[in-house]
């Protein structure tokens, strides 16, 4: 696992402002040896205290996850016991084999994966193309257009979900994946995120490529895209996770069971069998595992994406 401290130090995050850790400063070297040794001893004690505090804190904050995993390995009547059983008396692994037949979990996972992959690909492709147009090509009306993009980011999605729904109804696209793909694949946020990154790539690079005879499309494909891998990864991961976790979109548009995503399937399972505590937790664990996997693979890009879009917004 890479250290998030290093990720926050990526130069593109702060626009060149040098970053420092708060606690230990390199300036300490200037102090006398005597002061350093007392200071260092003090620091070591503080560190031990801080470690202890952090461990307690993180365990407390992770309690819901610990409880979720532990409950998923129990019988239903063992989940809500007094006192709490943190470690199941008997591990009921069969929950993890039974769930596939209790609900069409595989189908739900496939639907979620299908939507997330298609929407992510479209978003990254169209977003990075548009971002190139907005940052590296100058033409009249460009900045007004970009303001429109920014403006809609500020409008809550809930404020226009009804007109979107009417439109999809008229197009006959409700109860289909296409509605969700069309609604989510062309988001303004992706364009914004990519443009923020492209603005940090010097124009001289494009200029040099132009002199070498590359077309604008060639510059995008061969100069800009390879340079913007971190931003592409950020956008792809954020979009994938958002789509995977999305509840309201599928809730509004997908009515038939065979189209349901993991989130909808899990929610409906909870609604139907609200006493099947253990199996509900098993389903929750399964719905979280892909996200955990993706997060651990690309956590630095998540953090960078958030810091980029956040701090420069």
């Amino acid at each position: 696992m890479t250290n998030m401290a290093e990720d926050l130090k990526a130069p593109d995050l702060t626009g060149g402002v040098p970053l420092r850790g708060g606690a230990i400063s390199p300036e300490d070297r200037r102090h006398t040896t005597h002061r350093r040794s007392t200071r260092e001893r003090k620091k070591r004690t503080t560190n031990v205290i801080i470690y202890g505090a952090l461990v307690v804190l993180v365990v407390a904050l992770m309690m819901p996850f610990i409880w979720m995993v532990s409950s998923s390995l129990k019988e239903n009547n063992q989940v809500l016991t007094v006192p709490i059983q943190w470690i199941p008396s008997e591990f009921v692994w069969s929950n993890y084999t039974d769930i596939w037949t209790r609900i069409p979990m595989m189908g739900y996972l496939q639907n979620s994966l299908y939507l997330a992959v298609i929407i992510t690909c479209l978003q990254v492709l169209t977003g990075s193309l548009a971002a190139y147009g907005f940052s590296k090509v100058r033409f009249p009306g460009r900045d007004v257009l970009f303001l429109c993009y920014i403006g809609t980011i500020a409008v809550p999605w809930q404020a226009y979900m009804v007109p979107q729904y009417i439109m999809m109804q008229q197009l006959g696209l409700t109860n289909s994946f296409n509605a969700l793909i069309l609604l989510q694949a062309f988001g303004a946020f992706g364009v914004f995120l990519m443009r923020q990154y492209y603005m940090t790539i010097p124009d001289e690079l494009c200029e040099a490529a132009r002199i070498d005879g590359l077309s604008e499309y060639g510059i995008w494909a061969r100069v800009i895209l390879p340079l913007s891998k971190p931003a592409l990864a950020s956008l792809a991961l954020l979009t994938f996770v958002n789509t995977w976790n999305d509840y309201m979109g599928p809730f509004i548009y997908l009515t038939s069971n065979r189209l349901w995503t993991v989130q909808l399937g899990l929610r409906s399972f909870v609604g139907q069998f609200d006493a099947e505590y253990a199996m509900i937790m098993t389903g929750s664990v399964i719905s979280v595992i892909p996200i955990l996997f993706i997060f651990l693979l690309g956590q630095r890009y998540f953090i960078q994406g958030i810091a980029t879009s956040g701090m420069k917004g």
Binding site: M1, I24, L80, P83, K136, P156, Y160, V162, M311
Partner: protein, 312 residues
């Protein structure tokens, strides 16, 4: 942001001395620019921009799934202000925001200060605290609903253990359902804002702290006189983001309580959904949307003004 774009990005070979060449170049640039933007713009125009504009227009029309749209002026708004369910939803949304914004902000800052140090394995702690933010909402809601079970849920067992005899009914009580939702959302969101605060903390020059220390400032004084003022831009951003997201709260409520018990956790977004998509009252629901948008806009502009005054 826009001034930045204007000064940047000269088009290809703009040094051509002849104006005809310039014009040709400009036309070529427009064409090239649009081909890049078009694939995204078509989708954006059709499924974001037009619906946004339509939402404004619709709020002044009466349009149900059974009848053709007709212009009714402010009738939707009159009906809305006379409706009890609107005020209940507005109240719940405001209460949610008043709980969610300060709590998340305070905890995010505390966590960021705790985790802003160079220790072995600090990355693990950061990742762990950030993880709830990207966990699926349904799983989060389902787990917390069970943690909140009134009789034998872990939270009430804990409260009993520390001596609280009458633990709250949480999601089954109309008084405690909203606090339960707030606690869940604070837990889920604080990792995200912690990351923003961490970036803010790391941008504070260490010299400031050293100078304060030389002047004999205590840790507490350094916090109030160095950290807090230096973090002001971050705090501004965090407050705006948190407030906006609080007023938009929707899916967590739908999954956790679905507005209940009774109407005790119904929020504005949910009302828009019920009236617009549930009952097909397109015009009326758009009027509520407009109010939601205006609230979000006012809060943002207000905070922007406050921030500007402080900077002066």
């Amino acid at each position: 942001m826009t001034t930045e774009t204007i000064t940047q990005a000269p088009g290809p070979a703009r040094t051509t001395p002849h104006s005809r060449g310039n014009r040709k170049q400009a036309r070529r640039n427009t064409l090239i620019g649009w081909t890049f933007i078009l694939p995204n713009f078509l989708g954006f125009l059709a499924f974001t921009l037009i619906p946004v504009l339509a939402a404004f227009a619709l709020s002044f029309m009466e349009w149900t799934s059974f009848a053709a749209p007709k212009w009714v002026g402010l009738a939707n708004f009159q009906r809305m202000f006379a409706s009890d369910s609107f005020w209940v939803a507005l109240r719940n949304t405001v209460v949610y925001a008043l709980g969610h914004v300060p709590l998340t902000m305070a905890l995010a800052l505390v966590l960021a200060m705790l985790l802003n140090r160079k220790l072995k394995g600090i990355g693990f702690f950061r990742v762990a605290i950030f993880f709830p933010y990207i966990t699926s909402l349904v799983a989060v809601a389902v787990v917390w609903n069970m943690l909140f079970s009134p009789d034998s849920g872990p939270i009430n067992q804990f409260l009993h253990a520390v001596g609280i005899a009458e633990a709250p009914g949480w999601t089954s009580s109309s008084d405690w359902a909203l606090p339960a939702v707030i606690i869940t959302s604070v837990w889920r969101d604080m990792g995200y804002y912690m990351v923003l605060y961490l970036a803010g903390l790391q941008a504070i020059p260490a010299e400031l702290y050293e100078a304060a220390e030389v002047d004999g400032a205590s840790a507490w004084q350094r916090f109030w006189n160095v950290t807090i003022p230096s973090l002001r831009p971050t705090t501004f951003f965090v407050v705006v983001m948190l407030t906006v997201s609080s007023f938009k709260v929707f899916d967590l409520i739908v999954v956790m309580t679905n507005g209940g018990p009774g109407r005790s956790t119904t929020v504005l977004s949910q009302l828009i959904y019920q009236e617009g998509i549930g009952e097909g009252k397109f015009g009326y629901s758009s009027a509520i949307s407009l109010v939601l948008f205006l609230i979000v806009l006012t809060v943002t502009v207000l905070q922007f003004k406050i921030q500007q005054r402080r900077e002066r």
